[in-house]
């Protein structure tokens, strides 16, 4: 019944045999031990599970691990480069873009995609870009400021 899959996660290659119904987020968390990606709703409404699959931000709670066979995946744990925080991670720290931190990994991934696509987004564009991610603590304003901070830093 199990199917063999292989994928690259944060630059490391993995091969496993998994049940076809195994959700990608559970593969990352339970099989690979990458628990930075969180689950908040199981219905792709909150975005806590946002990761990159082949460069696209997707919600890993509604994708099967077998669908990601052969894919290149980045999770929150893979965002740092050479021990340095990604500008978006720095931005969230600088501008108090998080409180309880639970939505934060997914929020940072979604926000990173926003500035990947638009180097200098307006506040309106940032808010629309974060439409798929819920935060219950911050009221979003500091998150919007964090994304602005990161966009500026990335442009330098």
């Amino acid at each position: 019944m199990k199917r063999a899959i292989s994928m690259s996660v944060n630059g490391v290659s993995y091969q496993h045999e998994v049940e076809p119904r195994l959700l990608l987020v559970h593969y990352l968390r339970d099989v690979l031990g990458l628990t930075g990606t969180h689950i908040g709703c199981e219905t792709s409404l909150c975005g806590a599970c946002t990761i990159f699959v082949d460069g696209q931000a997707i919600k890993s709670c509604t994708m099967l691990a077998v669908q990601a066979d052969g894919a290149e995946i980045t999770t929150i744990e893979g965002l740092m480069k050479n021990g340095e925080l990604h500008p978006m991670q720095e931005g969230f720290w600088e501008r108090h873009g998080l409180q309880c931190g639970y939505c934060t990994p997914g929020m940072i991934m979604a926000a990173t995609q926003i500035i990947d696509r638009n180097a200098n987004p307006s506040r309106e564009e940032i808010r629309h870009g974060l439409e798929g991610n819920l935060c219950r603590c911050t009221g979003y304003q500091h998150i919007v400021e964090a994304v602005e901070w990161a966009a500026k830093k990335s442009a330098m």
């Binding site: 969180h38 709703c41 909150c46 309880c100 931190g101 639970y102 934060t104 219950r136 603590c137």
Partner: protein, 795 residues
């Protein structure tokens, strides 16, 4: 040494969170963990005829299935509030002969794999005999089907409170305005649901429970009583907690079940709440339907206020369920001088999940009632709503201010906050603009809320299980400062703000301070984080513990420096002879971890010095060869702080909206908030709390509503149906503040965790009502949806 208090210090808790390396309950992995899933009632009210678990027990990977009869020895889920005449249903951890709400746990399935546990739920066959459901709270009070036959009716308690002769006051008023007010049920929706991991050590007879809770110590006490394990053999750990908002200020059936199952099977067991379970089975907030009568004179003076309220308690009483409406009663004076106030509460059982403390917990209801009442008075008298409010404020020199609800407000300057907010928004010009807009056929509305709230819960006399908070502060031999706080922050940032307090008081670097919380195996007993109390009560405990520690260090320093204690002073982290206070003597750096010479504890270098850093004193206190007579070695102090009163933060929120005449859509044009939470430790964290609170308030005003149908079925059972505010719904929030210190604690802080949630809702609804006032609208029920507005515009 830097002054940290009052500065915008970046959070020390953030690096682990932004890297994805923090540990919430589900991120903790123990070998051989079994997974638990709960069979939950599909009916709001039904008799259980039979439960067949045989097929589930034979399913692959299933280890055990438990039903109500197996758990008779586990004590009931506790309710901590004792009101006179309160009826308390027997709340067992699994349903016995009946189910009382959709989501009521009936059976627990334990399997080696989380997917297998979920599969096996479908194999447990429950045969129900459906009973009529009690859903509407006012109907529940009147009669009809009775949920608990032994009780005779659905009324859990009735309570009347207040001072002054309300009947006489209303009779003597020029006007008495009546309004029905609905505070709809809300789901707290912490982004991390609840979760429990329990591990029993059969040899040691010790149980460790990791739970996503706001109250580790209170939970330990209650779980020990429920499960029947000695409290000192039970350790509760709250790892990272992904939001609480009151929903984790509770003791839940699942927490006891997990501990008990682990003891039965001698294996680690884990349960992670799904979002659908979360909306069914984690407490809701609000749920009041009330009738307010407001008396006023022709000049706008408020003469009296009566609030008759039906509180929708749900089927069972969770930890604080019946106490929440009493907080509403306490805050019915708002920020006004009202000579006579009365609240009449009827707390009713319904076939729904329990209501309990959700951010604000009874105070948003009070603020909404009072602020809506002020708007109704303004509309009736043709006065500006700001002027009605101003007219009824106590003056800044009337504090402490006694209310007809029996409280003594500690300090305040309500007019100051209103003046500042009006100045920022340009109130007079805005009203002119509104006149012009109306003339042009535009629907522009301005809403005001001048709220006050009750925080820093609270004096133990007024609390069900102690209202103090504890702290231990110690300086380790290497000079590192450790703070153990009984508060249990979960996103508020006290790892940083408490470190700011300690770093300033001890004159050390912020990075030398570590704040530890949420582990009953490490931290002295504490109460927890809720009711905007952690900094005002817990932070004060830290502050006073530091003073005790410094007193001891002072004596040791004097002894080592061979002088009288009175001859040395402590400044900038250093004890120095008064004459040598300005010495430029090089400070001995704190030994970085892992760089201690040859791994040995360094010898104190105290010989011939004229001053000592407190960190040098700490080392000397541990080496203990140079202590004054009768001095305990070590450098540590513990303090349990009992506040003498609550604190009363306040502020003014002004909102400007424009309604789209075609669609009824609501657009925010401005949002100005001037809040006063006393002294501010970290303005960045305060802003964050206000933003979050305001947006939850906006959620109540516009979007959120837990809906049960007339059969008691939960209609808004997932985030597809329960609408939460998203980033694009929110206006830019223009925050400012006034700073009126509290006299209740030496830090002068009041608390800010709930202010936004309490202050914002009436301002938002008031703005919408104001926009629609040309249509004769005086009040609207929440959540105010474009559809309802469209119907008014097209009536």
């Amino acid at each position: 040494m830097a002054n940290y208090v009052g500065e915008r210090v970046k959070r020390t808790e953030d690096p682990r969170l932004i890297k994805g390396l923090a540990h919430y309950v589900d991120d903790i992995r123990l070998p051989d963990t079994l997974h638990v899933a709960f069979v939950r009632s599909q009916y709001a009210h039904a008799r259980i005829i039979s439960i067949d678990i045989s097929e589930a027990l034979n399913a692959p990977c299933v280890v055990a299935v438990y039903t109500g009869k197996d758990v008779a020895k586990i004590g009931p889920v506790p309710c901590a509030s004792a009101l006179p005449g309160l009826k308390v249903p027997d709340y067992r951890v699994l349903a016995q002969d009946k189910v009382y709400f959709v989501g009521h746990p009936i059976a627990a399935v334990v399997a080696r794999d989380a997917y297998a546990a979920r599969d096996a739920l479908d194999l447990v066959v429950v045969d129900y005999d459906d009973l009529p459901a009690v859903v509407d709270v006012e109907a529940a009070a009147k009669g009809g089907p009775v949920i608990y036959e032994d009780f005779g009716d659905n009324i859990a308690y009735k309570l009347t409170a207040g001072e002054g002769d309300i009947d006489a006051a209303l009779a003597a008023s020029d006007h008495v305005l009546k309004q029905r007010i609905v505070h709809q049920r809300l789901a707290p929706i912490a982004m991390e649901g609840r979760g429990v991991l329990a591990r029993y050590f059969p040899g040691e007879e010790e149980l460790t429970v990791w739970s996503s809770t706001q109250i580790p110590h209170l939970l330990r006490t209650q779980l020990a009583l429920m499960i029947g394990i000695p409290e000192n053999k039970l350790r509760v750990i709250t790892p990272e907690v992904g939001g609480g908002f009151g929903s984790k200020l509770n003791v839940y059936a699942e927490e006891a079940m997990l501990g008990w199952i682990s003891m039965q099977l001698a294996k680690p067991v884990k349960w992670i709440e799904g979002r659908r379970e979360n909306i069914q089975g984690t407490i809701h907030g609000r749920g009041q339907v009330g009738y307010v009568e407001t008396g006023c004179q022709n000049d706008g003076t408020i003469t009296g206020l009566r609030y008759d309220v039906f509180a929708d308690l749900g089927a069972y009483l969770q930890l604080l369920t019946p106490a929440i409406p009493t907080l509403t009663g306490l805050m019915l004076s708002g920020s006004y001088k009202i000579p006579a106030i009365q609240i009449n509460v009827t707390g009713c059982f319904t076939n729904k999940m329990s209501t309990d403390a959700y951010r604000g917990a009874g105070r948003p209801e009070a603020t909404y009632v009072v602020e809506r009442a002020m708007d109704l008075v303004a509309a009736e008298l043709g006065m500006d709503p700001a002027e009605v409010r101003r007219k009824n404020f106590p003056a800044a020199d009337e504090f402490p201010f006694h209310t007809a609800t029996g409280l003594d407000y500690d300090s305040g300057n309500y007019q100051g906050a209103l003046d500042k907010a009006q100045a920022i928004i340009g109130y007079a010009a805005l009203r002119e603009e509104q006149k012009k807009a109306r003339a042009d056929g535009r629907l522009l509305g301005i809403g005001i809320s001048t709220y006050v709230e009750i925080c820093a819960l609270g004096p133990s006399q007024a609390m069900p299980a102690g209202g103090w908070e504890s702290a231990t502060v110690r300086i380790e031999p290497t000079g590192k400062v450790t703070i153990l706080t009984g508060a249990s922050p979960h996103g508020q940032g006290q790892e940083t703000s408490f470190a700011q307090i300690a770093a300033d008081e001890l004159g050390v670097d912020l990075n030398d301070v570590t704040v530890i919380h949420g582990d009953t195996g490490i931290v002295q007993y504490g109460i927890g984080t809720f009711g905007s109390r952690a900094t005002a009560v817990g932070g004060t405990a830290v502050f006073i513990a530091i003073q005790k520690l410094k007193e001891k260090a002072h004596k040791i320093a004097a002894h080592i420096l061979k002088t009288e204690a009175a001859h040395i002073a402590f400044a900038g982290g250093r004890f120095a002879r008064a004459a040598a206070a300005a010495t430029t003597e090089a400070s001995v750096p704190v030994v970085p971890v892992g760089e201690s010479p040859a791994g040995a504890i360094p010898e104190p270098e105290t010989e011939g010095k004229s001053s000592l850093t407190i960190q040098e004193v700490a080392l000397a206190a541990h080496i203990a060869r140079e202590l004054p007579p009768d001095t305990e070695p070590g450098l540590s102090a513990t303090y349990f702080f009992e506040p003498k009163n609550f604190t009363f933060p306040f502020g003014t929120h002004i909102v400007v909206v424009e309604i789209d005449k075609e669609t009824g859509d609501i657009k925010f044009l401005r949002y100005v908030a001037v809040d006063d939470c006393g002294k501010v430790i970290n303005p960045m964290l305060v802003d964050g709390q206000l933003h979050g609170g305001i947006v939850q308030s906006l959620g109540q005003a516009l979007f959120e509503e837990v809906v049960y149908d007339d059969q008691g079925q939960l209609v808004t059972g997932s985030l597809m149906d329960y609408a939460l505010p998203r980033a694009m719904h929110i206006p830019w929030l223009e925050l400012d503040r006034t700073e009126t210190p509290s006299p209740v604690n030496p830090l002068g802080v009041k608390g800010v965790g709930e202010a936004g949630t309490i202050g914002a809702t009436p301002a938002i609804v008031g703005a919408i009502v104001d926009a629609l006032s040309p249509f004769g609208v005086k009040h609207l029920d929440m959540p105010v949806k474009p559809e309802a507005i469209w119907r008014i515009l097209n009536a």
